[in-house]
């Protein structure tokens, strides 16, 4: 499966509206699989990771038409946490599309974006 995520911008101010759309192009044998969309932040660095999901939606779950369509979405972003690129800790925001594979590895496609105030 492939998925493309298009966002109306790369950097967003806290509290603003994130708009985008997801185009799904599944392989024929994956048409019946569940596909989820999430807008989330997660930490990375040398320690354990943490994450928070601010938007979640099931794009398709057995519906072949939905599994190969374009889906528009919008979500009001929170004020925190802001994107941060530290040395020991980073906070990254992403739009994530996940196709669940019950007997294998899930397909995951991320589109990163920045949440922060203008410099």
């Amino acid at each position: 499966m492939s998925a493309s995520i298009h966002l109306e911008g790369r950097t967003f101010v806290p509290g603003s509206l994130l708009r985008g759309r997801v185009s799904l192009e599944p392989l024929a044998e994956h048409l019946g699989r569940r596909v989820e969309l999430a807008v989330l932040w997660e930490t990375e660095g040398k320690g354990d990771t943490d994450m928070g999901v601010v938007y979640y939606r099931v794009l398709a779950d057995g519906d072949e038409k939905a599994a190969s369509s374009e889906h528009a979405f919008e979500v009001t972003l929170p004020f925190l946490p802001l994107s941060y690129h530290g040395v020991l800790l980073k906070i990254g925001w992403r739009v994530r599309v996940r196709r669940l594979a019950p007997l294998g590895d899930d397909f995951v496609h991320d589109e990163p974006f920045e949440l922060g105030w203008p410099p």
């Binding site: 660095g45 040398k46 354990d48 990771t49 980073k90 294998g104 922060g116």
Partner: protein
């Protein structure tokens, strides 16, 4: 961008937590062979190795294989004690496996009880430890320079490290996790490794 570091770092811990990357042995059948032995009904094995040598990674992959085969899996860390409620699930019918990380963190009698419980139900059991527990050994986990290179190439496909990894592994006592953190630091510091990533 806010912050003094890179936006992303391919050697972040979250990218190589056990089970996140494939089992990167030279022989593609290696994991299947280990799983066939480990998941046989009633089998009890140990995985022995130093910190960062892939013991928990193997357990995570065995869990994945077991679930794929419809087995009931109970996996826990010895440092957190025996989760009785989870272990009770092993009593359910059907094939089942108990996977224990950090066995030496358990009280000796607790592990003996877990083993006896698994044996009485014909469940398979695999424990990981830094020292010999007296069980048949499924794997002596060791990371060689070649395996390290495969892991690094998986995490950062466009990077190249001409010096190889033998010296780095030796410096960290065979602990691949520490080697990856060293690469993390080099990227953040913008030292030589950063120039190798495009």
């Amino acid at each position: 961008m806010i912050g003094p570091g890179r936006a992303t770092n391919p050697f972040s811990a979250a990218r190589f937590v056990p089970g996140r990357i494939p089992w990167l042995a030279r022989d593609p059948q290696h994991l299947d062979r280990l799983a066939a032995r480990a998941l046989a009904p009633g089998a009890q094995h140990q995985v022995v190795g130093v910190h960062g040598s892939g013991k928990s990674t193997l357990l995570a992959h065995l869990e994945s294989v077991a679930r794929r085969h419809g087995m009931t899996v109970v996996r826990f860390r010895g440092s957190r004690g025996v989760p009785m409620h989870a272990l009770a699930r092993v009593a359910l019918r059907g094939p089942r496996v108990v996977l224990v990380d950090e066995v030496e963190e358990l009280a000796p009698f607790a592990f003996t009880l877990v083993r006896a419980f698994a044996a009485s139900l014909d469940a398979s059991l695999v424990g990981s430890a830094h020292r010999d527990l007296g069980l048949p050994t499924l794997l002596h986990a060791r990371v060689g320079a070649e395996t390290a290179a495969r892991v690094v190439a998986h995490l950062a496909p466009e990077a190249s490290f001409p010096g190889g990894f033998e010296e780095r592994l030796a410096r960290h006592g065979g602990n691949l996790r520490e080697v990856l953190f060293e690469l993390y630091d080099e990227l953040e510091a913008g030292t030589s490794a950063e120039d190798r990533v495009r």
